[in-house]
Amino acid sequence: MKPNQIFNIKRFGKYANCSLISNYRQTILFWGAIWFAIFAFTLLDIRNPHSYWNHDGWIPLFLVVFYISGLLYTGFAFPSFRNKKRTLTELMIPVSAFERLLYEFVEKILVFIILYPAIFYISSSMAVGIRNAIPFGAVHTEVNGLTTFPFETISFEKLTANLEPGLFVMLLILSVLGFVVAFAGAATFRKLPLIKTIVVVGLLFLTGIGYVYLLSEKLKFRHPWIELTEHNITEQQGFMIGTTVFAIITLVALAFTYFKLKEKEAS
């Protein structure tokens, strides 16, 4: 097969354009909902005069909304596949499975990871600004005083301040892995993809844990490699091993998604 039939930048651009035109309403709705959720939760969080928003009180909200919205967004990737009739229309578009996968990966994962902090920054800062403008009490803003519009109060450096560099990279890859697994589920299941994916991953995880427990606790099996790694690796090496394992699982999940797209039928 010619490489041109797997990927062609011009065709990919046409497909991106086509998908954006077809789905822009849902995309705007999704980002609008994220913006509103952050805005509303920020207002609720800072209504208490003793809110510690300016320290790192925003971090739990940032992470919770990030993971929940990210899983919802990626878990409902390939929106045409939720419906038999739209599946056929989608599969008839002259693009390759790889281009379809790449577009959804870029839109649902990369763009999300890049855009989310910006949306969070703007939305929560607007909420804090509005709260500060209301005369009954104000947010404690140590940095800029009570009435300052606090764009500066959110510093994303705080996200990584207390983390080892290796741990941060590992957690970032783990986040991408979570999204890619949800993404693979969206390509596999037509109805309730996210719930089904969580159930399948949960069962696989429990099976894995049960297997390790059976080997190590019941059968008292100790492989020499386990002994070696337990006592001879540094924390950084541990993070590197974790990062590598998560990256490999991410690639496997992406390959699985690709083959699911290749084999997709519109019955």
């Binding site: 039939q5 035109i21 056929l88 229309t89 008839m92 002259p94 693009v95 499975a97 039928e265 519109a266």
Partner: protein, 270 residues
Amino acid sequence: MIEITNLNFKYGKQANLFDGLSLSEKAGNIVGLLGKNGAGKSTLLKLMTGMLTAPKASIEIMGETPFDRLPRFLKEVYFVPEEYELPASKIGEFVKAHAHFYPRFDSEKLYQILIDFELNTKNSLSKLSYGQRKKFMIAFALSTNCKLLIFDEPTNGLDIPSKAIFRKVVAASLGEDQLVVISTHQVKDVENLIDTLLILDCGQIKMHRTIWDIAEKYAFITVSQLSEGETLYSEVAPGGYKVIKEAQAASTTIDMELLFNAVVNGVNLK
């Protein structure tokens, strides 16, 4: 253009829908694919377009295996299914998003057919009726100028004037290198349009002939009394019987419905 050999296909644990079906068809024709409900017409079309796979069969369309769904194949095939869902965009937006995938797309032809069908590019697809959406899909499909155009029950939901327009625009807008396959169980709707007849029944192709061949060999007439020996097939009709006989003199107009009934009732029309 279409080469299918030894196609066996079934859904899950159901009985075989196709048993060793083989089919060959060249460009330049308008093929009417007729069959009863559940005969497998839509399934056959989906296999031709790569929407379904039959791993053990040899299916080649324009020299490609449809299920590979390569872009170079898909840009030469347009399939209008019986039921579909379109995005909630305007006609103009849909055209802008999809037309550039088809290298021979003809915008002028599209706008002319839309005018014929009394549709406007500012219409929102979500607000169109089922029949109007179908008309738009037919217009778009014809404008792609794809080498293989496939319509599954295209006249379902069309009003009477639109059915006539459909026949007119299909007949008028096709080139020599194109093949059109129209699946329908409304036989009357494709009379005077198709030039090749394909009748599918019980997992097999029961008839695959050109209209000229049929007209040359059979006479379709109405008689008041049945005469023994000459009649190949007959049906009661107002004032007598509709009859298929072997043609003897000038050709008659083909009664597609009568012919279809004869074939699916097992009459051997050699």
